[in-house]
Amino acid sequence: MKKISDFKIIEKQTWLRAALLRLQCEERLPEIRGGQFVQVRIDGGQHTYLRRPISIHDVDFQNNTIDLLIQQKHEGTKILCSLPVGAMVNLVFPLGNGFTMPEQNDEILLVGGGIGIAPLLYFAKTIKSNCGNKVSFLLGGRSADDLMLLERFREVGDVFLTTNDGSLGEQGFVTQHSLWNTKKINKIYACGPMPMMKAVTKVAKDKDIWCEVSLENQMACGIGACLCCVENTTEGNLCVCKEGPVFNINRLLW
């Protein structure tokens, strides 16, 4: 069940290029799957007529809160990151299909690049509560300050890190991390910049590992009505907002 609801910002944490907003709603939250996203209404921008899709970083059903981990990119996300505690934001949520829940015995690697790490936390928590699998995170950034909230990830699984400048974890891209040679993996879930996801897709195909990626095509409606965010797939043009954002790599023409 999708909803439109007003949320209040009750906690906020900020970094150089990002912010974590804890949003609380007065109504009970509907069921939310890992990898789903929200469409945020942004007031005050001259170029923020449309909502902005933001992936769901964490959920607390006891307190009806949703955490959004937001990277400051353009006017919309900058305004969002600048909102004070107490401000209200309107969300349309939960949207999209989310990641596929794994099997009990799967060896799972969650790969995140940049702000693409955001949806992996809540998905990992749902894996744990649903089938109890131990998960591993492979998180990559340009430098250490792209890799936020690592303690949150460590509470849920093993965390492996790469940075392009070597300021944290192994130097290089996520696909260059040593774990690929040592670790047994039979399911990969990836979210991040297009080049990173294409690289992960290549690794998965080479190693013949099942893999899902979460796409970020530009959206207008977010619910499959406008057909703006299409990805060309084996089934033709599909709406990333509705048929995705998560796709098995076998459906993509990469």
């Binding site: 439109i4 349309v92 009505a225 299409v230 060309n232």
Partner: protein, 303 residues
């Protein structure tokens, strides 16, 4: 108690509020947000005789208080609509209207003929103004002779309420509307999108895969309102107004300018529940202003 019923030839709307083609899917996408029974009608997305993949991504650019799109009539074709979608939506408690597009007259006629046979589709909206596909109808929609040809051909084949959707990318939209009227249209709807363009200054490339696209949203409202006013003065058939309508106040303005009904388009993307809110807001306006019948507002502009 305000009467909100609008009677068009062979098409009765419980209120003047409809949703615009291409912005409301098949209604199902909005079922979580809107009680469709609160709407006068929904115009489902552009349907063509044959399956169309539409244009490549990127198809959208955000603009000041608006957006550009070049979707390009992506749809699975009229047969798929009839077999797979129609059964799911035919019993909605509102008018389900199909927007019909084509790249030549025969295709328009063939698609319209198939939809004519669908019991629960009381009307079609003929899209002779899609700016995003070669022969996407805009070729027909910008000349009187072009629109006469396609409307007359479809009119002969289609026997229910025929709405013709007009392009705003013309010098004199009243002439085009009169041509549609003389060719047998039961009503005209306007405006379709204004042809626009967006460029990324940093990459020096067009933002849209097709370079140009259709502009919609609040930014176009003043142009749409002017065209509705000009057309309502020029034709005797009803006018359906759309273009940037985002509130009940906007909708009232279109009714006053001469529209018998309105369509809500891009605003559905900003607030998925807006269509029903507008329907309720029109009633509140009438109660506040002592208007007993919404029909009193149609063309009620005081000069």
């Amino acid at each position: 108690m305000v009467n909100t019923e609008i009677k068009l030839k062979g098409l009765t709307l419980k209120n003047p509020v409809m949703t615009a083609s291409g912005t409301f899917g098949y209604g199902e996408e909005y079922a979580d947000f809107v009680n469709l029974a609160e709407l006068g009608g929904i115009v489902v997305k552009g349907t063509t005789l044959h399956h169309r993949e539409g244009n490549p991504y990127p198809r959208m650019a955000e603009t000041p208080m608006g957006m550009l799109n070049c979707v390009g009539l992506q749809n699975k074709g009229v047969d798929y609509f009839i077999e797979t979608i129609y059964p799911r939506i035919k019993d909605f408690d509102t008018n389900v209207i199909v927007n019909v597009s084509g790249s030549n007259i025969d295709d328009y006629v063939a698609a319209a003929t198939k939809i004519d046979a669908l019991e629960n589709i009381p009307a079609i909206e003929l899209n002779v103004s899609c700016p995003n596909v070669k022969q996407g109808g805009m070729a027909f929609g910008v000349t009187c002779s072009g629109i006469e040809q396609v409307v007359r051909a479809v009119r002969d084949a289609y026997h229910k309420h025929l709405i013709v959707k007009l392009s705003p990318n013309v010098t004199n939209i009243a002439d085009i509307a009169m041509a549609a009227e003389s060719a047998g249209a039961d009503s005209v709807s306007l405006i379709n999108t204004l042809l626009g363009m967006a460029i990324d200054a940093e990459t020096r490339r067009p933002v849209l895969s097709m370079v140009t696209g259709g502009l919609s949203g609040a930014c176009v409202k003043p142009v749409a309102l002017r065209m509705v006013w000009q057309v309502a003065k020029a034709v005797k058939i009803p006018v359906i107004g759309l273009g940037g309508i985002s509130s009940a106040t906007d909708a009232i303005e279109f009714l006053l300018a001469g529209a018998s009904a309105i369509e809500i388009g891009t605003a559905n993307f900003i607030d998925p529940a807006i269509s029903a809110k507008v329907a309720r807001g029109i009633v509140e306006y009438c109660e506040r202003q002592g208007v007993k019948d919404v029909n009193e507002l149609v063309g009620g502009l005081r000069l």
